[in-house]
Amino acid sequence: MSLIAALVNLVYRALFLRGEEGFRLSYTWSKLLYLASGLLVVTKPGAVSALVVMGSTLPLSVVWPGWSWLYSALVLSLIPAAWFSLTAYVSGYVGLPGVDAVGAVVVLVRSLAVSLLILFLAAALSPVKVANILLRLRAPGYYPLLTWRTIPYGLRVLVDSIHIGVLKREKPHRRLAPAVAIMLEYGGFVEEYNWLKVGGRVKGVLPTRSSAVHTALLTAASLGLVVLYVVLP
């Protein structure tokens, strides 16, 4: 499998693997609360605060979306984290303000914590609830729904195309054109077959479910983070 196909697969698993379940069913305020508490804790300098946030996000993500998500999110988060850490370290050698090896590890851990936190909450974002916000504002509510449907479709088309390129012994960049061609065709057909849905005015909001358990877990984790923020030096 090519590197690009592997990356595309990671993005798919990190953001589009699950349906309307788990933390997507938690109340919006609890997600915002968790985001705010996580960011609050990492405002404290050093690696410990970041480890605290990671120590909170990792078990939550095992509850939902699960191990497969966790693996993908860790690998994806490592990419920017390693980049920030490396550039911060190398900067010192080229005459710019930089960090030593310990500082580079701190940058790595802090970047990883923030990145994981954001990915986790992005995965927990409910397209249905976003659609309902738009519908209440009398805006087209299908945008988030169609986005969450189309992106994984496009990613899978790209992966299939790259895979076939491997069999044809082609370089991955050659496979972009067929994937784009399929997506253009897809766009045309979606416009045609959904013109009644897209052109019609929606008369209500989409039904949603809520999960008290997932809301409670996020709230408890947020409170734990706030307590640790106070306790940490």
Partner: protein, 430 residues
């Protein structure tokens, strides 16, 4: 009268058009529109549903639904009268979960969503499932549930059987029968009109854009010789799967302990219900997926040609694709274009090719690439019998040349033609 269409002409500027088509649909009536690929069936469906202009086409004439011109309807109003289930059902979905898709459509015609129709379509319990993870057959059933829930009086279905297995087809037929009994009207575009015969439909046969027959008799039905594909035979094994288990991340097992041997130079059809694991099996043989457990061994170079062959191609035109795969040898490309009966389309754009032409081109291109094992996913899906037979001829040629071919299909016409069939049911070879 539910629908009255008097179409003087409809089509695409400078391109294909249908002419002089009159169609009436009464309550409880089923009209089956049939004809060869390119006869104008889908153009007629687009004209009836007023979507032809979205494809850059035009309609001269009038299509009236419940006495009112289709052009005068507002989209929301029309959604309560007309439902259109396209041939490729996944294009008809905008929601990311079953429930959001189902309810979004329903909320266009009423202010509350009633999920009962999901149960009737057999999708109860799948409300929170992502639509992207549905099989084509399940997607078709979802669109069907939407049509039921919006209360549409006229339902236009374009090739509704293509992605359905036997059980799904029977279910579809009984649902149509039930809805006909409730006074709804159906226009079904289908290359297999005989399937609907027991519901006593009116048949409309299109040929080159004009109506060649309109009535209840089947006397016009064309005789098509069923192809027969031998199993071929060479020496040794080309493919060997030993206790193969596979699952996608976050899902249950798709394949469970599959053992399979495919002889070199043979033809094998992998058959099974929607979602039984046929495509996954082909991808494992191609090496595009790795088994979670067990082993896959393939002798020679495999190539996988997906259901949508656009994902296979590397170049924008058939000619460039063939020359590219022939390593720049134009004489060889020309020879293979003749061999696979592609001479007439080599200068077209890939986007303008029909499904059948795309599939034959993909196989021809792979043939030029010198692959040994050909893994063809639904190579005849959506094709009329004439064009399906042309694909079968191409497959036959591969086998005659000593290539190993494995086909995943639930197309009865193809499956019946193949001597060796491997049946997969819920991830197990039975």
């Amino acid at each position: 009268m539910l629908l009255e269409a008097k179409i003087d002409e409809a089509g695409y500027a400078g391109g294909f058009r249908i002419r002089g088509v009159s169609l009436e649909l009464d309550e409880g009536e089923l009209v089956v529109v049939t004809g060869k690929s390119g006869s104008g069936k889908t153009t007629l469906a687009r004209a009836l549903t007023n979507t032809i202009t979205l494809r850059g086409g035009y309609l001269r004439g009038d299509v009236r639904l419940l006495g009112k011109s289709v052009k005068e309807y507002q989209p929301g109003e029309l959604a309560g009268v007309l439902a259109y289930i396209p041939q490729e059902p996944w294009y008809g979905i905008i929601g990311y979960t079953v429930m959001s898709e189902f309810c979004y459509t329903q909320l266009i015609v009423r202010d509350k969503c009633d999920p009962r129709a999901l149960n009737e379509a057999g999708l109860g319990g799948m409300e929170d499932f992502i639509t992207y993870g549905l099989s084509a057959g399940q997607t078709q059933l979802l669109l069907w549930a939407e049509a039921l829930a919006t209360g549409a009086r006229v339902i236009v279905m374009d090739e509704p059987l293509v992605y359905l297995d036997e059980a799904g087809r029977s279910k579809m037929k009984s649902l149509v029968q039930q809805q006909l009994g409730e006074g709804k009207g159906f226009v079904v575009v289908d290359h297999d009109p005989l399937f609907w015969a027991e519901l006593r439909p009116r048949f409309v046969l299109l040929n080159d854009g004009v109506v060649e027959y309109d009535g209840y008799s089947l006397s016009w039905a064309w005789e098509v010789k069923s192809p027969r594909l031998g199993r071929g035979g060479g020496s040794g094994l080309a493919v060997r799967l030993k206790d193969v288990w596979f699952r996608y991340p976050g899902y249950g097992w798709v394949l469970r302990g599959v053992d399979l041997e495919v002889g070199s130079g043979t033809l094998t059809a992998v058959v099974g219900r929607n979602g039984s694991g046929k495509t996954t099996l082909l991808k494992l043989v191609a090496g595009l997926l790795r088994p979670s457990r067990g082993s896959v061994a393939v002798k020679g170079r495999p190539i996988y040609i997906p259901e949508n062959p656009l994902a296979y191609f590397s170049m924008p035109t058939p000619w460039e694709e063939l020359v590219y795969m022939a390593g720049g040898d134009e004489d060889r490309a020309r020879e293979v274009a003749d061999l696979f009966d592609l001479r007439g389309v080599v200068g077209s754009k890939l986007a303008d090719l029909s499904s059948g032409e795309r599939r034959r081109l993909a196989i021809a291109s792979a043939y030029l690439g010198g692959f040994d094992v050909y893994l063809l996913d639904e190579p005849t899906g959506g094709l009329d019998t004439f064009n399906a037979n042309r694909v079968v001829e191409v497959v036959e040629r591969l086998v005659e040349e000593g290539k190993t071919v494995v086909i995943a299909s639930h197309d009865d016409r193809l499956v019946r033609a193949v001597e060796r069939r491997v049946v997969i049911d819920r991830g197990v070879v039975v």
